[in-house]
């Protein structure tokens, strides 16, 4: 028999309570994994999209909701004239509910801009010209909306023909409805407005060049801001909302986990006052009794964490394939997230065990043994 035997015996002697506590922690940790995995996945897929298109910087308005506010399309010309800039294009993008899909990206792109180049038609054809009242669908968007070539999609009040299905090389692109900027402006009553300018810089532009360019854009367009593509996700309003939500929900989940384990450990300590009295009476040091209680709660955390990570990962994988969400996210289930989550669970276990451990070591052997 080892010290560890004593610790595990303590948990096994109360299978129901141990099971319930494990369920509590694992649900908390599963929530953390699912929410943070989604937020990180969102970040990763946007990063990938910008990379595939070859966007170096993005200009947008500072305010706005999930998507930034619109501004005058003529800002693009002024930005394009800056020295370090090789090429620009502009977009009007909205994240809106379309027919059965609760949230879908609708991306109106300036005709001829470089954001069209990487789209590969997999079915049907490309939009003919700037004014054709038609859209192409990313592959995932087509699946989510259950649309084929020849169908129409209702955007605001206008039916637009689906003329092609495209592969854009990233989840974000494939999850979008893509149409010409002019049509998008007309349909959404945003004539002459855009909300993004995408920039490609001259080859060899260094960090300083980027910073200078950002400053110059700020002069041209004071209420806007220009960010490097690699930083765009962190500064995006939508991402920040998603991130804040996932973390605040995670913190809540962790707090619930702490309460659960602490409750179990406190009950265990109260219930085992007599046994702890015996341990103290036969000469166990207070520290050893505390260690026993802490090990028990840390072990609960570890087991709950592993269970929770499996649960959360499974949940995300299932979520990923549900029709309503398909194509909207590419969950990030990196080892970093999984290990962090298990570690969080162990720390939760340890924190919850602290007070019960301290309390158990304060017992007087004579009093405890009589209870």
């Amino acid at each position: 028999m080892t010290f560890f035997t004593i610790v595990t015996r303590g948990l096994m002697r109360r299978p129901v309570r141990t099971g319930l506590t494990l369920a509590g922690i694992s649900i908390g940790i599963a929530a953390v994994v699912a929410l943070v995995g989604m937020a990180w996945g969102y970040e990763k897929s946007i990063g990938k999209q910008l990379d595939v298109i070859g966007i170096d910087m993005i200009v947008s308005n500072m305010g706005g909701g999930i998507m930034p506010k619109v501004f005058d399309a003529n800002v693009e010309e002024k930005v394009a004239s800056l020295p370090k800039i090789k090429e620009t294009t502009s977009l009007l993008m909205q994240l809106i509910s379309v027919e059965d899909a609760p949230m879908i990206m609708v991306s109106g792109r300036k005709w001829g801009g470089f954001t069209w180049h990487q789209l590969k038609v997999v079915e049907g054809r490309m939009i003919k010209d700037e004014h054709e009242p038609a859209v192409v669908l990313g592959r995932l968007a087509a699946e989510v909306l259950k649309k084929k070539i020849g169908d129409t999609v209702l955007l605001d009040s206008e039916e637009l023909n689906v003329v092609g299905i495209v592969d854009g090389g990233s989840v974000v692109e494939n999850g979008a409805i893509i149409l010409s900027l002019a049509v998008m402006q007309r349909v959404t009553l945003n004539e002459g407005k855009v909300n993004f300018i995408d920039i490609r810089l001259q080859p060899g532009t260094d960090k300083n060049g980027v910073t200078e360019t950002a400053a110059e854009i700020k002069k041209i367009f004071p209420e806007g801001r220009a960010v490097k593509a690699s930083e765009v996700v962190g500064t995006s309003q939508g991402f920040r909302v998603a991130q804040a939500m996932s973390w605040s929900t995670s913190i809540l989940a962790i707090a619930v986990g702490i309460l659960g384990v602490m409750n179990t450990m406190l009950m265990t300590v109260f219930e085992r006052t007599h046994e702890i009295g015996i341990l103290l009476a036969v000469g166990w040091r207070k520290q050893r009794v505390m260690l026993m209680v802490l090990f028990e709660s840390a072990l609960l955390g570890l087991l709950g964490g592993i269970l929770g990570v499996l649960l959360g990962a499974a949940g995300l994988l299932i979520l990923e394939t549900t029709p309503a969400i398909k194509g909207m996210l590419e969950p990030d289930l990196s080892p970093k997230l999984l290990i962090t989550s298990v570690l969080i669970a162990v720390v939760v276990g340890l924190i919850s065990g602290l007070y019960p451990a301290w309390r158990s070591s304060r017992l007087s052997p004579a009093v405890a043994i009589q209870s």
Binding site: M1, T2, I278, A281, V282, G283, W284
Partner: protein, 242 residues
Amino acid sequence: MAENAPSASTPSVYEARGLKKEFDGGKVAALRGVDLDVREGEFVAITGPSGCGKSTLLQLLGSLALPSEGSLKFRGRSIPDMPDPAHYRSHDIGFVFQAFHLLPTFTVLENVQIPMFEGGLTKSQRRDRAAELLESVGLGHRLTHFPSELSGGERQRVAIARGLANGPSVVLADEPTGNLDSANAEQILDLLLKLHRDRKVTLVLVTHDLGIAGLATRTIRMKDGRVVSETSPSTPSPANHP
């Protein structure tokens, strides 16, 4: 004070002076000033009516509780001021309770090993030593049983083996036969007497049984939290005789 063998020059194991213990913030006075000497190798019996403070005194000797007042020394060291009372409890003494106080979810063999976690033994040394101790109390065939599967007498023998886990020189026993029938009580008593005789263990035993008390080197009678008389077999008449 008339005192026979062991002689007064034998070093003392316990030395209590004016020992008091109060409960509930002074409402209950369990001990009201006890003076007591226990010498190396003695077998001291403590008797007295229920509630007179016998268990309380033994708890103080065993460092299971702290005195409210007075001094209490173990081989010259103050028990309440010990920097490591756990070591004293695990190595210097073995405590035997009336109610056995075994851990129900651990086997007999595991129960005896519990105090050994405070010693430097390896896993297999702990096991072997526990098996040896259980063999010596006649329970070599019961190692993997749980306490609930044993008779009262067997449980108490496990508790004695546990008390001897780290080879103490003192055994404190609080009515160890109080929950047992006479046959089992006799076995337990024989076991304790053998320890006292063969291993020279100092034995302090609380009992209601005057027959048991008659076997002791000295018998201490208590009443209302005080020592009222001391008897040894050579001076059988009560000392509180005028």
